[in-house]
């Protein structure tokens, strides 16, 4: 059977545009509430901002990442793992310099009887302040590939 998408290994080394991103009080309030707990003290931002702030900070959206990785659709992207590192606590209103890119792409096959291929994709983004690293986010997604016959 033929499969769409010959592979996206060429994206290894791709660098995102990069930029500066601060965590606003409103998003800290709402996102912290969504986690089921009260706001942290002293302008601390909930550590879970280390998912979307790096992505937004380097100048891309989740939809643009799906496009970059040639996803067949939003529901064809599977979350595999996060590796989050905090060297300093995240705080509201600080300007975080965000930089990073794609560090790993590998075509794999799910051995579940259908032998459906997917691309194992890893991208990593660092947040720095005055040149010192504050946090690093490494995200692993699986991009499921559809057979040509289903298109």
């Amino acid at each position: 059977m033929a499969w769409v998408n010959a592979g996206i290994e060429h994206l290894v080394g791709h660098q995102f545009p990069g930029g500066v991103r601060a965590i606003a009080h409103w998003e800290n309030y709402l996102l912290t509430e969504a986690t089921g707990r009260e706001l942290l003290p002293d302008d601390l931002a909930h550590p879970i901002h280390l998912f979307h702030v790096p992505i937004d900070g380097v100048g891309v959206t989740i939809a643009e990442l799906f496009e970059l990785f040639e996803a067949d659709g939003p529901d064809q992207v599977g979350l595999q793992a996060y590796e989050w590192e905090w060297f300093e606590p995240l705080r509201e209103s600080l300007d975080y310099h965000c930089s990073g890119g794609v560090v790993e792409v590998e075509r794999r096959v799910e051995h579940d009887g259908n032998d459906r291929p997917y691309d194992h994709v890893v991208f990593r983004i660092e947040l720095t302040v005055d040149g010192s690293i504050v946090a690093r986010a490494t995200t692993t997604w699986h991009l499921w590939r559809s057979p040509v016959t289903r298109r």
Partner: protein, 138 residues
């Protein structure tokens, strides 16, 4: 209240943190903040083909946040140094999950504890598992 690092030992259990009712409205807020176009988090129609009967799927970061909340409730809001999580199942609105953990190692030089952490459903299954690194010196 937290205890000092020498009062924590390998094998100690972290206090459970319970999310008794995973809610769709929290997923919608999160999708808006994330600008996440994936409809499985906010449109019940998109999950019918998966046999979810009108339920939506919790975001991975929200699942991970329950583990973060457990660690912060244990050792304070600035204690978390690292979190590795892997996803082996979906959590949906209406689910009841408990964040649990156990200390597996303590670095005597840095006073950082390595903890096995996981989310557990009422049936005992663990859709999210991982490792947290927690600073005990605070």
């Amino acid at each position: 209240m937290t205890s000092s690092s020498h009062e924590v030992s390998v094998g100690a259990r972290l206090p459970d943190w319970v999310m008794a009712d995973v809610r769709a409205e929290r997923m919608r807020v999160t999708s808006a903040i994330h600008r996440d176009p994936n409809p499985v988090h906010w449109d019940p129609r998109s999950t019918r083909s998966r046999g979810l009967d009108g339920r939506v799927i919790n975001q991975g970061p929200l699942n991970a946040s329950y583990l973060v909340n457990m660690v912060m409730a244990w050792r304070g809001p600035t204690c978390l140094r690292g979190l590795h999580v892997e996803f082996d199942g979906r959590i949906c609105d209406g689910d009841h999950v408990t964040a649990r953990g156990v200390v597996t190692a303590i670095d005597p030089m840095t006073h950082v504890a390595t903890c096995e952490v996981w989310l557990e459903r009422l049936d005992g299954s663990r859709p999210v598992v991982g490792t947290a690194r927690v600073d005990l010196s605070g």
